[in-house]
Amino acid sequence: MSDGRLTWNPHAPEPVDDRELIGRVLAGDARAERELYDAHVDRVFRLVYRMVGDSHRAQDYTQEAFIRGFRRLADFRGDSALSTWLCSIAISVTLNGLRGLKRAREREVGLDQAPAIGARPVEADPDLKVRMRRAIDGLPEGYRTVFVMHDVEGYTHQEIATTLGVQPGTSKAQLFRARARLREALADFARD
């Protein structure tokens, strides 16, 4: 297992020259594709895994994000960092995948019985981490995405806004509401 935020800084400078790499990829250099992938895959995979909590799905969605990214690379205009652009594709793939999964589950068990995505069986005496996981799983999609990106992975509101295609104010508002819901759900754990 990798070690949370202690070893990961999403704000760290990207170690490769993306513009040069993009040029080589567009020129058909297959090795450049691998270099671009190596430079960004950890960040993309981390974010996708945080959203889905399942290795196989995280792998599938990350692959799909890079495949789409390479196919669309000619349209990348450099308005944001390449890593942000890739993350926006990854989030889109992930949310679409999770929505499909949710629909499939709802069809199987009926709306009233559908568990939240990633929900685990109920435990007798859940500790804070388990309760937190369930509470985050239970957040509306927009709240959960912003909360995971900001409070779990350390993205800034500006990065979140660029990635999700929303205003920074929207990101802040959703984070505020997400935290409020989590405080409410975990009130018995909160310190005075």
Binding site: A30, E33, R46, Y49, L128, M132, R133, F189, A190
Partner: protein, 211 residues
């Protein structure tokens, strides 16, 4: 709002949420590389410069040409029983021609939808996308009325594709990002693009020369 963080114990618990393992780099890369090889085999040139309108017009002309070439003439056709027992050579050629025209059409539709999806945010190509979608829509309707639509899977795909093409065809330069996003979501929901890619295997799109 950033100055209203969760209690430290809650923050610490949140950081444990779906804590990721190391990325399986090589396993993922194998799949990506495979997909990229197929992409390269299928489209040797940069896709952004595909002349949408010209490509769609070529497909339309091809479809019409095939239709004229193989349309029934004044001579009476075979009875259903005869067809079932021994297909006429002309009928077999006709079927093949329609199948090739369908694959060509679906390949062009896939290119349009891929480009459209890529331009959803920028929204810079509505007029061209709309014109191309209208032309493809015409071909799509010809194929829906043709023997190509006898195959159930093809017919369902053509019907779903018709909805998407009709939406794109109605786009105007005044369309909002929300309008474009709705179309994109419709494409994703119906899996139209992925189904197109399944029906049109990489590298098998016929050209006029193949016919």
């Amino acid at each position: 709002m950033d100055d209203d963080p969760l209690d430290e114990s809650l923050r610490a618990a949140a950081r444990e949420y779906h804590r990721p393992p190391d990325a399986p780099r090589e396993a993922m890369w194998r799949e990506i590389e495979r997909a990229r090889r197929l992409d390269r085999a299928r489209r040797p040139g940069p896709r952004r410069w595909i002349p949408w309108g010209a490509a769609a017009a070529a497909v339309l002309a091809l479809g019409i040409g095939i239709g004229r070439m193989w349309a029934p003439t004044g001579s009476p056709g075979p009875t259903p029983g005869t067809v079932a027992a021994r297909p006429e050579p002309a009928a077999r050629v006709n079927e093949t021609a329609y199948r090739l025209a369908t694959v060509e059409h679906l390949g062009q539709a896939e290119a349009l939808l891929t480009l459209f999806r890529a331009s959803v945010r920028t929204g810079s190509q509505e007029r061209l996308a709309s014109a191309t979608a209208r032309e493809l829509l015409a071909t799509n309707r010809l194929l829906l009325d043709s023997p190509a639509a006898r195959d159930r899977r093809t017919r369902l795909l053509l019907e779903d594709l018709e909805l998407v093409l009709a939406e794109i065809a109605q786009l105007t330069p005044q369309a909002t990002a929300g309008d474009r996003e709705l179309i994109r979501e419709g494409m994703e929901r119906g899996g139209v693009l992925s189904r197109l890619r399944t029906v049109v295997p990489a590298g098998t799109t016929p050209t006029r020369g193949d016919l």
